[in-house]
């Protein structure tokens, strides 16, 4: 489900056009560009809603927002990679899995 800029403004109650443009300029949200302007994928819409909630319901100010988002992006990037790594470990023969487990346990 793709959404236009206007549709996102309508969906997120209280969100101003200038504000969303500002978030895009800051690269807090990265919608695609179509022939008729921005196109928001579901992940972008969810991110707009998240930023809006962080900003207004949780009162995180403009200055702190990039820090919050950057940390969030780091956490999710690491989690995605961790998942890929775990899947790769899962695909190994039992003795290798056991060796990895022993090694990870030993470091705890």
């Amino acid at each position: 489900m793709m959404m236009s800029f206007e549709a996102v403004i309508r969906l997120v109650g209280g969100l101003q056009e200038t504000e969303l443009r500002h978030w895009i300029a800051e690269r807090w949200v990265l919608p695609e560009s179509g022939a008729e302007g921005y196109v928001f994928a579901e992940v972008d819409v969810a991110r707009v809603q998240l930023i809006h909630e962080l900003r207004y319901e949780l009162a995180i100010d403009e200055e702190a927002m990039p820090v919050v988002l950057q940390l969030l992006d780091q956490v999710y990037t690491l989690r995605r990679r961790l998942r890929v790594t775990l899947e790769a470990i899962d695909a190994q023969p039992p003795e290798i899995r056991a060796a990895i487990r022993a090694r990870c346990g030993a470091e705890e």
Partner: protein, 313 residues
């Protein structure tokens, strides 16, 4: 799950002011917001409770009714609240758009090894670790561009908005496929200490067309035809990605018959073209047609047939 008293959930007194309630909510929400606590089921459950309590107590009318005992705290749960929606996308492939390295152009040192391990690292561990200014290539910036179906086949120039004040003209090569990535050299992030700029990587998304479908380099189309055209055959005009062409329908063509228009598909990298496949769909005239009905009533088919003969069970 038993629904707890919303005042207790937020940790405020019965006579708390609106401000006090909001402050208490914010404090708890920041701690337990599911998007800020990926993988923590407990935070999610706790947050739902907090949000429900706040929804009830922040609504003057609902709060008064609750205080008078007219409603209880149940049923106040947010049905499908946007909270925790982001996490669902960010944990999976769609979240790659917000991959950490892309925005800032540099990753913390300890992430480097991970990146290299995943085959995306550009610094194999050599330079960058020592002291002194290091020339570093700018980051590749990732963008996505949606093009319409016909543009993808015929090619065009399209403007890509990198930021509200920075746009770039992108040449869409004819025949581009959904998911293909175009690399624009030097259009990415600036390099560090006179290092070369990175590239812009543009992932192409092809929007669907109302009547064409693409399979590889071939284009498929369902073509409605009249009863007369199907029975008697004749010339019809058929849309193709490069404009309408004339096509002959053989007599006695049934629904489902597929005719091929050679070379009317998408261009191929080797210079050739795919084909267009036209599937016929016989359409009856709209509304009543007394003459047609009368004809069929009196009509004795020369070859009586049962189109459902293969379906007897």
């Amino acid at each position: 799950m038993a629904v707890r008293d919303p005042y207790e959930v937020l940790g405020v007194k019965k006579e708390a002011t609106e401000d006090e309630i909001r402050t208490a909510y914010r404090k708890l929400a920041k701690k337990h917001h599911p998007d800020l606590n990926p993988g923590n089921k407990e935070a999610e459950a706790r947050f739902k409770e907090i949000a429900a309590a706040y929804d009830l107590l922040s609504d003057k009318d609902k709060r008064a009714r609750f205080d008078r005992g007219e409603i209880d705290a149940s049923g106040a749960e947010r049905p499908e609240h946007a909270y925790s929606r982001y996490r669902g996308f960010a944990e999976g492939a769609p979240g790659e758009r917000y991959e950490f390295h892309s925005a800032e152009g540099m990753a913390p040192e300890d992430l480097d090894d991970l990146f290299a391990f995943f085959g995306r690292g550009q610094r194999g561990g050599g330079p960058g670790r020592g002291g002194g200014p290091v020339r570093m290539r700018g980051a590749d910036l990732h963008f996505a561009l949606t093009v319409d179906f016909l543009t993808a086949i015929n090619g065009a120039k399209q403007r890509l908005q990198l930021a509200p004040e920075r746009s770039l003209e992108v040449t869409i090569p004819a025949g581009v496929r959904d998911g293909q990535i175009l690399r624009l050299k030097g259009q990415g992030g600036a390099g560090l200490n006179e290092g070369p700029p990175g590239d812009a990587l543009i992932e192409i998304h092809v929007a669907p067309h109302p009547f064409f479908r693409r399979e590889g380099d071939d284009v498929h189309l369902d073509l409605p035809v009249t009863l007369a055209e199907a029975v008697l055959g004749g010339k019809v005009t058929v849309p193709t990605p490069t404009g309408p062409v004339s096509m002959t329908i053989p007599a006695n063509s049934n629904t489902g018959r597929v005719l091929r228009l050679k070379g009317k598909g998408a261009p191929r990298p080797d210079g050739g073209h795919g084909d267009e496949y036209v599937a016929l769909r016989v359409m009856l005239p709209e509304g009543d047609d007394a003459a047609l009905a009368a004809f069929l009533r009196d009509w004795a088919p020369k070859h009586p047939y049962d189109p459902r003969r293969g379906m007897s069970s």
